[in-house]
């Protein structure tokens, strides 16, 4: 191909190609290979809910690729299917590239058949050809193309093999078809065919919805009891009643004579058609490999084993912590030193005053506190991506479904929980968004309300800081316990919600276990980079802005003249009266500290923090902690950066090279139980603003506000109990 292409187009023409296919067909991998776009690839059914596009220039044609969500069918069963179908019928792309897994041709063709019925031009990409060959499958591509009457291209998305041919074939076919839709009419048996003809006639003669869909396809959807189409049809009462009556008569008849509804008959005929196509010597399997034991099934005999499965699952998750912390420590200390150095340099370059304070205390310490955790978060994401892309996450959902169901949740709830930080280091925003895969509104609501309890990447720095200050010998153990505690709280609260405010039956669990695949290095790295970059971007934008705002709130109003001069007098007297050099320095530091503290207390933030202190003191939180926690509502990352600012504002000793954690550890207002109370409160209290917005989008503002209030009260109650019991009984 290449130079000899006949269909060269004029500069500036455009084409739209939609990539469609079942979940786990390698669709997103292919999309990445084609567009080079940075996009998430998951091995978990239904992970791509959003529409992703990428534009590539091919021989002068601007080709826009759209990655449709993975679907098993074109019914309106799930949101993904609806998104995919509406895109095809509303935006009418020039061509659909249907990516099918060559090793599971029979099931994957079920979707292809539905594209043919819709009539949209299709090119079939026979993906995972390498796996098919390994399994000894021989596929007669030419014959398949002839029988299906559409071009078929063999591809291996992981390596990009067949990519060029696929694109060229797709563009060529799109040009040939020139937006012409030719629906395939499948026979569904004499009886249904007659009804279909009758329905089609009514639809056709009344132009009922035919501006968007082919007439026979609409008829078919009525017979299939497609709620979306039936709902649309209501725009014309008379015709929709006529159609629905005819359908319900047919249904009665089918159930009486065959004992199955029309939609089942339709599905059976589709599979019948697929079988007859494939029987025609298109797929043959080498005898020698026929009994070859499936590797994934073999792995699963251990990985989802009754005893070893759960043990292994806990071991995998636990070792993730160990690896992350032992590996992340080194670059983290580099970054910490780096920001310390920048901070010291800035202090020496910029003259003392407000500007220095803004840059050093506000920006460098604030953002540095957050950026220091980038290596840790990157490593954590790397491992989550690996588990997702390898197919293990689906096993986790499978193993946990029975447990989650006890708490009124669903196997699919595992994913939102894990993304939110169920294996520490996620983010509740995509976590809340991932609840879209849950079909039942009740289970979805319970999941999205409790997912923000998970230790997300932004909460981690707070935990790490406090662990470094008070429990430094038990880093991994404490982190692991925090995660377990988060799960327990999420499950108990879910159960509470599901048995009070949102009672109801559970929804079905029907999920594919994708074969284990060694994730591509590229895919894992793209994915990790994407998430880490989001974190860095957040540090550079939202957190920078909040840091500056909080710095301003912590600086203004500044101390009145007479108070600053009072401190100046104290300093002067110390200089005069104390003879010993070290004692004098010590006294000066003490006075400076006192001044810093007084100024902070006098500031707007200090006033807010102090106002809350009488209540927060129940949990051992002083006014400085309050400032950080209020700031944390904007973004959890802000907690650590505010600590950084609050403690550096209060301590102006230029010789103090110690880190934030040692400053907190040596502060008299802190002890182990304050730290524990703080950890629990940060874990449970109000989700950050971005999460609250996401929650409102996925449910309603009422629920988002409910979660914000409820979680804060719950978190505070727990924190108070821990602090009170700890300090009264144990200390």
């Amino acid at each position: 191909m290449g130079a000899g292409i006949q269909w060269q187009l004029k500069e500036g023409s455009t084409a739209t190609i939609a990539l469609a296919g079942n979940p786990n067909s390698g669709k997103t991998t292919l999309f990445n290979v084609i567009t080079g776009s940075r996009q998430h690839v998951g091995n978990y059914p239904g992970i791509t809910v959003e529409r992703k596009e990428g534009t590539v220039n091919i021989n002068g044609t601007r080709v826009t690729f759209i990655d449709l969500p993975g679907t098993y069918s074109l019914s309106a069963y799930s949101e993904e299917e609806l998104v995919a179908r509406n895109f095809l019928t509303n935006e009418k792309p020039d061509i659909v590239v249907d990516i099918v897994d060559a090793t599971m041709l029979e099931r994957h063709l079920y979707l292809a058949i539905q594209f043919f019925e819709l009539g949209i031009p299709v090119v079939l990409a026979l993906n995972m050809m390498d796996d098919a060959r390994k399994q000894g499958l021989r596929i007669d591509t030419k014959k398949l193309a002839k029988v299906l009457n559409c071009p078929v291209v063999e591809t291996v998305a992981r390596s990009g093999q067949g990519k060029k041919e696929l694109i060229e074939t797709a563009v060529k076919h799109a040009l040939e078809k020139n937006q012409q839709w030719t629906p395939l009419n499948i026979s569904y048996g004499t009886e249904l065919d007659l009804v279909l003809d009758e329905l089609t006639e009514i639809i056709h003669s009344n132009h009922h919805l035919t501006d968007r869909y082919p007439a026979r396809w609409i008829a078919l959807k009525y017979l299939e009891n497609d709620t979306e189409i039936i709902r649309h049809g209501k725009i014309n009462d008379k015709i929709s009643t006529q159609l629905e009556e005819l359908v319900s008569r047919t249904k009665e008849h089918c159930i009486k004579t065959l004992n199955i509804p029309p939609e089942a008959i339709i599905a059976d005929y589709r599979y019948g058609l697929i079988n007859s196509i494939l029987k025609d010597n298109i797929v043959t399997q080498e005898k020698s490999r026929q009994e070859r034991i499936d590797i994934s099934a073999k792995i699963d005999t251990v990985f989802v084993h009754r005893f070893f499965g759960p043990i292994l699952m806990i071991a995998v998750l636990y070792s993730m912590f160990q690896v992350t912390f032992s590996l992340g420590e080194i670059p983290m200390s580099w970054l910490e030193n780096f920001f310390g150095w920048i901070s010291a340099t800035a202090t020496s370059i910029i003259p003392e005053g407000l500007l220095q304070s803004l840059i050093v205390s506000g920006i460098i310490d604030g953002v540095g506190g957050v950026m220091g955790f980038v290596p840790l978060i990157a490593i954590m994401f790397l491992m989550i991506s690996f588990l997702e892309d390898s197919g293990y996450m689906a096993r986790v959902a499978y193993m946990l479904d029975r447990v989650l169901r006890i708490f009124g949740l669903h196997g699919y709830s595992a994913m939102p929980f894990i993304i939110s930080g169920g294996i520490a280091g996620g983010c509740a925003v995509p976590g809340v968004m991932a609840t879209r895969t849950l079909r039942s509104p009740k289970e979805k609501l319970a999941t999205l309300l409790t997912a923000p309890f998970m230790p997300c990447g932004a909460k981690l720095p707070v935990f790490l800081l406090l662990i470094a200050a008070f429990f430094t010998d038990y880093k991994a153990q404490i982190m692991f316990s925090i995660t377990l505690f988060a799960w327990v709280m999420a499950l108990l609260v879910a159960k509470l919600i599901r048995s009070t405010v949102i009672k109801g039956e559970s929804t079905p669990f029907i999920m594919e276990l994708p074969p284990y695949r060694l994730p591509t290095i590229r895919g894992v790295f793209i994915h990790t980079w994407e998430r880490t970059w989001q974190y860095i971007k957040k540090a550079g934008t939202v957190i920078l802005a909040v840091s500056i705002l909080l710095w301003a709130a912590m600086t203004f109003p500044s101390l009145p003249e007479q108070q600053t001069s009072q401190f100046e007098i104290e300093r002067q007297s110390a200089l005069r009266t104390i003879g010993n050099e070290t004692d004098r320095q010590k006294a000066l530091v003490e006075i400076n500290n006192k001044e810093g503290q007084t100024a902070l207390r006098y500031s707007l933030a200090g006033k807010i923090g102090s106002t809350l202190e009488p209540i927060s003191q129940l949990a051992g939180f002083d006014w400085r902690t309050n400032i950080a926690l209020v700031g944390g509502f904007a973004a959890k990352e802000v907690i650590v950066s505010t600590f950084g600012t609050a403690y550096s504002l209060g301590d102006v000793d230029p010789e103090a090279a110690d880190t934030l954690s040692s400053r907190i550890a040596s502060d008299p207002s802190w002890n182990k139980f304050t730290a524990l109370a703080m950890i629990v409160f940060v874990l449970l209290y109000a989700p950050c603003v971005v999460t609250v917005v996401a929650m409102a989008k996925e449910s309603s503002w009422r629920w988002a506000i409910f979660a914000t209030t409820f979680n804060t009260i719950l978190g505070f109650t727990m924190a108070v109990s821990i602090y009170q019991i700890g300090t009264k009984l144990i200390l």
């Binding site: 098993y72 069918s73 019914s75 069963y77 090793t103 599971m104 029979e106 099931r107 079920y110 299939e224 009891n225 004992n259 199955i260 509804p261 939609e263 089942a264 599905a267 059976d268 599979y271 499936d294 994934s296 099934a297 699963d300 005999t301 989802v304 084993h305 009754r306 005893f307 499965g309 759960p310 499978y398 193993m399 479904d401 029975r402 447990v403 169901r405 196997g411 079909r439 559970s506 079905p508 669990f509 029907i510 999920m511 594919e512 276990l513 074969p515």
Partner: protein, 78 residues
């Protein structure tokens, strides 16, 4: 002899004789390939004996016992 998938033992091979569910569950089961005449093999069950995982059409599907109730099968003697 027909029985529901729920009562099939691990390792058993069977042929689907009917999918009795209607509406969404039925549609979903069918689009995942569970139609009469399909050969399936029960691979095993999750640690708490539910969901069940089965092999059909060269892939692995998992579903709860509640859903398995809707699938009638005939055991294949090996």
């Amino acid at each position: 002899m027909h029985k529901s998938l729920r009562h099939s033992a691990s390792g058993e091979k069977a042929i689907v004789t009917a999918v009795t569910a209607e509406g969404e569950i039925g549609r979903r089961l069918r689009e995942m390939g569970l139609s009469p005449g399909t050969e399936i093999k029960i691979l095993g069950r999750a640690p708490l004996k539910d969901p069940v995982s089965i092999r059909l059409k060269n892939y692995t599907l998992t579903l709860r016992n509640n859903e398995a109730d809707h699938i009638l099968v005939k055991k294949v003697e090996v």
